[in-house]
Amino acid sequence: MDTPRHINFDYAAGYPVDPEVFKAMAPYFTERYGNPSSLYALGVEAREAFAEAQIRVGELVGAESPEREIFFTSGATESNNLALKGYAFRNRRKGNHIITSSIEHISTINITKYLERNGFAVTRIPVDKYGVIKIDALKASITDETILVSIMYANNELGTVEPISEVGKITREKKIALHVDGTVAVGKIPVDVVDDNIDILTMSSNDIYGPKGVGGLYVRLGTVIEPILQGGGQQRGLRSGTEDIPSTVGFGKAAELAKRRMPDDSKYTSGLRDRLVKGMLNEVEDSYIHGHPTKRLPDIALVRVFGIEGEAIVTELDREGIYISTGSACASKTLAPSHVLESIGLNEIQRHGALQFSFSRLNREGDVDKLLSVLPGVVKRLRDISPVWKFKDRFLEMYTSEEEEEFEQF
């Protein structure tokens, strides 16, 4: 069961842990295995390692009191659950209305549906063709009952960065709490909870080359939320369960590295991304790039090819040792197409050809060349047997789109 050599353009699905991070974690598995609740020296060591990680993670997002504002969870999904349910249930006396967007991660969507089943009203504000939330719609949807706004910092499929600081000005003025899902943004682009008036922030460890199984939650001092797990009262009662010190230390180290490496990494991955997108748009006819031309993450691109189905492309590329992802319904466990692509106005035929690329500092220049040397042939072969491509004009006219943006704008 050896891992074959591969070229990965789907890091969003999982990042390897950085060797420096792994090195920092290692002693906490076997030597420094203390429990922060223990009174004796081994426990003190664990408490200090935990506090150090809080500081590192807090520094990455500008938290002012990391030891009181940073909590560790089992990952971004749990952080989103804790943020949304924890805030909503704790503050339900203030009001029962929550505002979110139509392009949130599935966890946020399913959590807000759960809240709807439990007596909350949820407004999901739409986005424009670039995936940017409509600020006016957000403003218009605020009522006296509104207690919480939850918008992602950047979208994981499109890479589009949302106007969080504008949202933060509004929520601060209206005294509404602001939760931000920063899973794919934190550590990739600068995020500052104070500047942006963010009250609660979801953070992921693995997305910044930290270990899986651990996530972060920033909760501004004075913002009150209730726990979603009952237990021994660890982490000041907000997140019970024996602390996972090795993973926490790893997350802290990853945060420290991310802060330092952000400028270089961002330049590097966006360079690769631009080369790949340009190459694809040049070499594959009827292919399109989505997401915002400039307000975007450095490491994510969504390119769509017409007339063939995404999973078939993924399958072909897998044979070449190239990993990508697709928004095609066929590739998902639920066979449900991407709600994000629907939100930006793509019809279902178009969504089936959506290819998601996510880059990392581990990609090499040659990776892009290799993909560009393989992909046009794959597309051609699949188009040759595709009735949709053969009767392209008929299918294309079913949807007239304006999404053919010039890549030069980027």
């Binding site: 007339g307 189905e309 078939a312 993924v314 044979r319 035929i349 047997i385 009735p387 053969k390």
Partner: protein, 132 residues
């Protein structure tokens, strides 16, 4: 661990996906049938040449995932040279079995092929009502 390799597909599926048999169009087909819906992510069109109630030539085109393409290819192989009655009786399970299995979530892809064959036969009988 399981008979399914990468992408959850068997070797046989991968082989038919990579090298689909009977791909293309028959310009002067005696029957044409389509099934699926590109909105749902798959669309198969099948072309038949028929002589003496027997399928003497068959071609297909498919928009869809690996399982859809492989099922299409396998289905054409299974009915080529067969009588119309035999073709009508081809089951989705027979296609899946001939491919050494399909991932549970992809079983619907094998229906695509049986439905396309069914549609083509319907087309044929509607043009040649005497032969049904």
């Amino acid at each position: 661990m399981s008979q399914y390799g990468s992408m959850g597909y068997t070797e046989k599926v991968m082989e038919h996906f990579r090298n689909p048999r009977n791909v293309g169009e028959i310009k002067d087909a005696d029957a044409v049938g389509s099934a699926g819906n590109p909105v749902c992510g798959d669309l198969m069109t099948i072309f038949l040449k028929i002589k003496d109630k027997r399928i003497v030539d068959i071609k297909f085109m498919t928009f869809g995932c690996g399982a859809a393409i492989a099922s299409s290819s396998m289905a054409t192989e299974l009915v080529k040279g067969k009588t119309l009655e035999e073709a009508a009786n081809l089951s989705k399970q027979a296609i899946a079995d001939a491919l050494d299995g399909l991932p549970p979530i992809k079983m619907h892809c094998s229906v695509l092929a049986t439905e396309a064959i069914e549609a083509a036969l319907k087309d044929y009988y509607s043009k040649h009502p005497s032969k049904s």
